[in-house]
Symmetry: C2
Amino acid sequence: MNLSLRHMKAFTALANLRNFTRAAEHCCLTQSAFSALISNLESDLGLKLFSRNTRNVDLTAEGAAFQQVVAHLLPEIERGLAEMRDYVERRKGRVALAAIPSISSGILPGLLARFTRDFPGISVEVQDVASTVCVDMVRNRQVDFALCAAVSPSTELAIEVLARDTFYLICPHTHPLATRARLDVQDILVYPVIGFERNSSIRQHLDAAIYPRQWLRSYEVNSLSTAAGLVAAGLGVTIAPTLALFQFRLAGLHAIPVSLPINERDICLARRTDTTDSLAAQALLALLRTHFKDAVEAMAPAGAAAR
Amino acid sequence: MNLSLRHMKAFTALANLRNFTRAAEHCCLTQSAFSALISNLESDLGLKLFSRNTRNVDLTAEGAAFQQVVAHLLPEIERGLAEMRDYVERRKGRVALAAIPSISSGILPGLLARFTRDFPGISVEVQDVASTVCVDMVRNRQVDFALCAAVSPSTELAIEVLARDTFYLICPHTHPLATRARLDVQDILVYPVIGFERNSSIRQHLDAAIYPRQWLRSYEVNSLSTAAGLVAAGLGVTIAPTLALFQFRLAGLHAIPVSLPINERDICLARRTDTTDSLAAQALLALLRTHFKDAVEAMAPAGAAAR
DNA sequence: CGATCTTACGGGATTCGTAAACATA
DNA sequence: TATGTTTACGAATCCCGTAAGATCG
């Protein structure tokens, strides 16, 4: 016994129309193929469902019982299939991702707004965590993927570079360097610098890029907005990547491109290699692969963009 | 998309076992056939259900959603099919029949007891009505069939003779005729006779058989038990068919075969020609066709049986 | 290298459509 | 006789099993 959707639909059509010819049309079948379908169903079940002659078609007692059964079953099956179709059509789903703070607060909102406009049924969960935690969450399958800074490679993870960041000196408009169009590390070292905590991906890049560490490090903070506040208060300057510029722009600060020994920072997408992405995740990934880089470049100051 | 039971069972097996080879065995299929089955399901649905390599098989996000759907659907389908199987195995069902009083109270109970022993799940509804009403109820599809006396033939009805009745004089043991082994109509006409109402099938047979109607009709009643009471009270004799004898035997009365001009009365089974009997009805019909005649003959008095 | 999934392919069953046969009002 | 179902039959498709191929730990 291999009851199928086609059986049920054919049965229902015949039970409703009580006419082989019309029910066959309704099922897009020849009348003869339809007749065979019904009689197969009957012999599979082991009972007659319809009492029929050339003039009348009617449900038998058992056919009426089967009609009850199918009337209950069909809508449930259709509903289940419709739900699956929702996934296929990206009308339903869930993506979980982790992203470092500069990404999740700076560039993601705009991209996610677009994503939600395109796929309103898909819910998105964003974990705003440090780069190392991002990677852990991917490893532990807590998220579908992560957007973070450079990741130490592993067989478990697939890494893609989505965009590259460059760095800027952030200072008040009144700062002595504010008139310069481009700076070198050396230009900065004479001023006190607001630094980020060790765990921060910005700090890690700068530590790697600028050695020996000759900073006049005046403060060490863990959020971009705190750094912005301190710079605005005249307590120092700071160095931040393109992705973080929006935060300082909000504070009315000035950004000047800085050339570092390692001048570019990779913004990476990290996924597990061993799982198939959900369709929802695939949709968001496609959007990010297409638009992430442009969005990052759009964050650069007008003058620096032509660099 | 033609989702079938086989698809769902295969999916469930693989989702549970997470191993193609073992799931294939569970479904009594070759591993390769099973693999094709799953990948057909996936392409029908338009999504990957399992992320798999040679070492691991796991549900994708969409596969997990489908598992929810199928886990809900499968038991319901199985339950529906089990219900249909109940009908096939005669564990479930309903028969409605109409029968004239002499049948429904005399011979039916024993036959129905046997039927209910054989098919405890099938419910039986008996309508105890006059012969003409029996036929109407068959015509109106209120019952599956009827057991009654002779029926005027029609294309709508199929009539079968299940047994033949003969007639007996019913009298007290003290009656002058009580010593006789066999009687003729003439022997009776000198005694007052308890008659039955016009509608009764016994009356109709006697009216047709004995003409001119020369009865000394003392009383006209409509039930066998009333007639029995009157006869027992010495108010007259009566004439009754084999099927009704049990009632008079209960009252301690004597029964003597009577030879009538139309000596036998057909006990008929009436069904509609245009409907297929339910399996439950078929089962009861089979039992009646097999045992009804024997049961009627068993009702005849010991002496008369050898006639 | 070994276990496991996928692909290739031939044979058999199923299903389809056309057309003829059959049944009933 | 007209309408509508079943049967007959050849063709296309689907499904299965064997066997070889590919892949991953």
